[in-house]
Symmetry: C2
Subunit: 227 residues, 2 copies
DNA sequence: CATGAATTTAACCGCTGGGTACATTTAATT
DNA sequence: AATTAAATGTACCCAGCGGTTAAATTCATG
């Protein structure tokens, strides 16, 4: 990530001994780890600095203060998850298959983005105060709703989706499964064991929630597994 | 809660000018507020002490240190939620109605226990380290599973529940809705507005998830709302 | 090569906040 | 009344941590 001087870098700066962009990226990466691990108040700036390839002073130089750094970290994980969602193209699939694909992909995406999950949890502890300040986030979140709305519209037009189906509600449903499955592993395991979070139970769970969503949306849907 | 001298109190202590039990309760109540509001590292012992009817010294006298206090708070909200669950009796209902009742009650219980939700979120941020240490919690959590298992058994015996239905999986499902609905309000609202968390949308949501669970469990179930 | 803005270093600071020392009061016991 | 142990009040400590100061280094530019 640091490597040599990237002369491919455009803008007005060609090659510095130490590239500020790389430094910023490095700080952000470490800070993401630390905030995700310990929360806003729990994370330690000195510790973040120590793990960085640069110094504490640089953190303040580039990000102002602890909260400024936290905000950038938050924006980073949000846009990173949404970017991965944008890669998913369900335009070529029939509405039922498109929805199934969206649910499965969301489930998997959450399972594979523990940093995102933890930072969203942390941000909720802070009542969304920092997310609300961000300008970048609101527009990011349209894409997933748009995608769901498009699928719903096609499903209704084709006559296979129920009338009452609402994209936002659907998103809430899909997120609740997918998020909880990661966010509450620790306490759930402490109470009931971790078996449900290992294979093959996870695969079964994904199948189950997908079927439940489809059953709620698609007229006359009858999953194979529901004898 | 303080009132007069409780001579009904057994043990070896009859009446003190200042009842230590009441002091402990008072500390716990305030600490619950503060930890739920700010997290483990975010909460401030001096601030907790200030809001108490006693002094910081007493907190350390009764709870040892910050983490000890946090543990007791955690145990408190857990047992409080489970106690409210125990009040729910579905023994007299047919399996389908019993399950419906359990889902609705869980949904409502979570919506009405914001402290519990926040503290569980916080505990998950800490990877369940403190919950795992607690001896009181593991046994508390049996009751809800037992209740679900009993309903499932009756439903299968009656021939109205599917064979594959598993109580733990069911609990995971019901919890995911109910928990996420409260835990992620802030960030969800920041992204998509708060309309879904107000009436009448909440009632619709509850209805929807209940129907989804029943459809997944009860053979041939067809909710009215699913045209 | 002098200028100066951008970038980086190292040392430093003050206060917050978890935790403690020690004296003192209270109520049961003898 | 004297003794004792639990319960409490007050003042204090001090390390950790967020944030800063001031100066040095790097490189484009005239």
């Amino acid at each position: 990530m640091d490597g040599g001087a990237e002369n491919t870098d455009n803008k007005r700066r060609t090659s510095w001994k130490k590239d500020p962009e790389a430094v910023k990226e490095n700080i952000l990466a470490i800070a993401t780890e630390e905030f995700a691990a310990h929360g806003l108040s729990g994370a330690n700036i000195n510790e973040i600095a120590r793990k960085t390839s640069t110094s504490k002073r640089m953190i303040y130089y580039y990000f102002g203060d602890k909260e400024g750094l936290y905000c950038k970290v938050l924006e980073g994980v949000y846009s990173s998850l949404r970017r991965s969602e944008d890669l998913l193209d369900v335009g070529g699939l029939e509405p039922e298959q498109a929805l199934r694909r969206l649910v499965e992909a969301t489930f998997d995406a959450h399972a594979n983005a523990p940093h995102f999950i933890r930072l969203v949890m942390i941000e909720n502890i802070h009542n969304g105060d920092y997310l609300r300040k961000s300008e970048i986030v609101p527009k990011l979140n349209r894409s997933i709703i748009d995608k769901l709305e498009e699928v719903c519209a096609r499903g209704k037009a084709k006559g296979v989706f129920r009338k009452g189906v609402d994209a936002l509600e659907l998103h809430w449903l899909i997120s609740s499964f997918s998020f909880y499955n990661v966010s509450n592993r620790a306490t759930f395991s402490a109470s009931f064991g971790a078996s449900i979070f290992a294979q093959p139970r996870q695969a079964i769970l994904k199948q189950r929630v997908t079927d439940m969503i489809l059953a709620a949306v698609v007229i006359g849907y009858q999953p194979d597994s529901w004898s």
